[in-house]
């Protein structure tokens, strides 16, 4: 890899989010908490989601890992908090598509905002998992929260 490749990977935006991560820390209330690990490198994230009336009210986390994984977590929380669950899921899908596109997917800045800075990561297969760790954790936690809510409803109804 060349110096240009390196700069394409480590966009200023990524380094900024790495140094000053948004929404960091674990907070109450929350409906689901998950712990995800990248088994190849040991990066870890504990992530909580708080949903109210079909909206992502909060995503809080405690994470350890490289600049790519930390910055990606920060960007993800910034993008999904305040959105409807449906909209946030669609942003998650766009980001995942970008990351798994091997550099052939054109990112949509309207949807991904700061997330487009990760377009360069898609060309480094070893780093894709770093960028996706917290996004997959969020998806998992949200699915759990929705499932629990469904169960509660059934219980209430039953």
């Amino acid at each position: 890899m060349t110096a240009q490749d390196l700069d394409a990977l480590y966009q200023e935006i990524i380094l900024d989010h790495y140094k000053n991560p948004l929404n960091k820390g674990l907070r109450d209330p929350f409906e689901a908490e998950v712990h995800h690990v990248n088994p190849t490198c040991g990066d870890e994230v504990t992530l909580r989601v708080h949903l109210t009336d079909g909206k992502v009210s909060d995503v809080s986390y405690d994470a350890m890992g490289c600049s790519i994984s930390q910055a990606s977590t920060s960007v993800m929380t910034d993008l999904v908090i305040g959105k409807s669950v449906e909209e946030a899921m669609s942003i998650q899908a766009s980001f995942q598509e970008l990351m798994q596109g091997r550099g052939n997917v054109e990112p949509d800045e309207e949807v991904l905002e700061d997330g487009i800075a990760f377009a360069g990561v898609a060309k480094f297969p070893a780093r894709v998992k770093c960028a996706l760790l917290s996004w997959m954790a969020w998806k998992d936690a949200t699915a759990q929260a929705l499932a629990d809510a469904g169960t509660d409803e059934e219980t209430t109804n039953g």
Partner: protein, 421 residues
């Protein structure tokens, strides 16, 4: 610099990959030899020659090629036995890698009846610095048999804490399994001393020599006298190919262990009701073995033997001492493991304050410097030192002081890239 291989430039020419240019025209600085070593031309040529001229299955082909292939395969066993001074060439078992060798031991011990049988209340002792492949097989064994897994802890300097050796190794101990040289900390462990203790209580002693065999002379006659019963290493770290590993075992232990995999080659005779088994080594080599890989490994140990393992050890020591000194000049850099080169092998794991190991490795790669980043399959050892991951630079017989300078320069560049003051 004292201790370097006198013909280092000639040796480097034996390894064609070292002349490779990476993206952007940068020369390769390969400092990931503890992960896998590079291969000399003679290993590549020997394997190509075997495939081009002698390829046939071994021990079951009644034709000239079959005889040539069997001869090449079995003479590789002879070469390896001589390389590690095994008491008998039949004690050299070919496996897929060191992990398979260790799993072979842990599994057959789980199936053993009689004196080697492990049951409830028995204990297996390992250390906190083991590679996952010398932890997980023993966890599986102890869980299956209701036995207890215990381990030696580590001192802050990365050496083994032997203060509780008399309580850890006791009359309940059935197996003591430890690494000779740590793949993460670099620490060289007092294998013979621990083996003597284990022998005194009648325990089986297993040594993971994956990082030791590449770096230092190994004398299995001497180790067997100290009490080592079984020893595992892998081909690809001793300038050989992947897909081939070695388990050495004392004949009387191998004879007592039941077979591992069943199939062709490992039998004496087969009837529908029951079978009887071949003697060692074939008893543990079911199926068509990795033939060309074994032949390549034979050429690899011949090559290392020709250079001389004592000379390679001295070279590694000189390079490691130089690297430890040079890396100490990088601010914010902390080496994990012994700082005295005489206590360690050539793998140096470190942390760089403020930059995650992944990012260190990525920036080093942009300068042509290949290192490993992560937990190096030694998560417990990382946890012991309160780190989640580390960066590891590891040298070998082809490493030059100039490459260590390139590493240090690239580390300084990493600090500036991440704007550390």
């Amino acid at each position: 610099m004292d201790g370097l291989l006198p013909e280092l430039e000639v040796i480097r020419k034996d390894f064609p990959i070292l002349e490779r240019e990476l993206a952007g025209g940068k020369p390769l600085v390969y400092l990931d030899s503890a992960n896998t070593s590079q291969k000399p031309q003679v290993v590549i040529d020997t394997m190509v020659d075997h495939l081009e001229r002698h390829n046939a299955n071994v021990a079951r082909a009644m034709h000239q090629l079959g005889a040539e292939s069997s001869e090449a395969f079995e003479s590789a066993r002879d070469k390896i036995a001589a390389f590690v001074n095994a008491p008998s060439r039949d004690e050299i078992i070919f496996t897929k890698n060191a992990s398979e060798a260790l799993n072979l031991v842990a599994n057959t011990l789980a199936w053993a009846r009689g004196p080697l049988e492990i049951g409830e209340g028995d204990e297996v002792v390992i250390t906190e610095m083991e590679h996952h492949s010398n932890i997980v097989p023993w966890q599986l064994l102890t869980e299956r048999k209701g036995a207890t897994l215990r381990w030696f802890g580590l001192h802050d300097d990365g050496t083994l804490d032997l203060s509780d050796i008399d309580s850890l190794i006791n009359e309940k101990t059935k197996v003591v399994s430890l690494t000779w040289v740590s793949n993460m900390l670099g620490t060289i462990n007092p294998v013979a001393e621990i083996a003597r203790k284990a022998k005194a209580v009648g325990a089986i002693v297993v040594v993971d020599a994956s990082q030791a065999v590449p770096q230092m002379p190994v004398d299995l006659v001497e180790l067997a006298e100290a009490g080592v019963d079984l020893l595992a290493f892998t081909g690809h770290k001793v300038v050989g190919p992947t897909g081939i590993g070695v388990l050495w075992g004392r004949t009387e232990i191998l004879d007592q262990l039941p077979p591992f995999l069943g199939g062709g080659e490992m039998i004496e005779t087969v009837a529908m009701e029951r079978s009887t088994y071949a003697g060692i080594p074939h008893k543990f080599e079911a199926g068509t073995p990795p033939i060309v890989e074994a032949v390549g490994l034979g050429a690899a140990v011949d090559y290392l033997g020709h250079v001389g393992m004592a000379a390679i050890r001295d070279h590694e020591h000189a390079i490691t001492a130089y690297a430890l000194e040079a890396m100490a000049t990088v601010s914010g850099l902390t080496v994990l493991g012994p700082l005295d080169a005489s206590l360690r092998g050539g793998a140096i794991s470190f942390e760089l304050d403020g930059v995650h190991p992944h990012d260190v490795a990525q920036v080093l790669d942009s300068r042509g410097v290949a290192v490993r980043a992560g937990h190096h399959c030694a998560k417990p050892a990382h946890k012991r030192f309160g780190v989640q991951a580390s960066t590891r630079a590891s040298s070998y017989l082809y490493t030059t002081p100039g490459e260590i300078d390139a590493l240090v320069e690239a580390l300084e560049y990493t600090r500036s890239y991440f704007k550390l003051s």
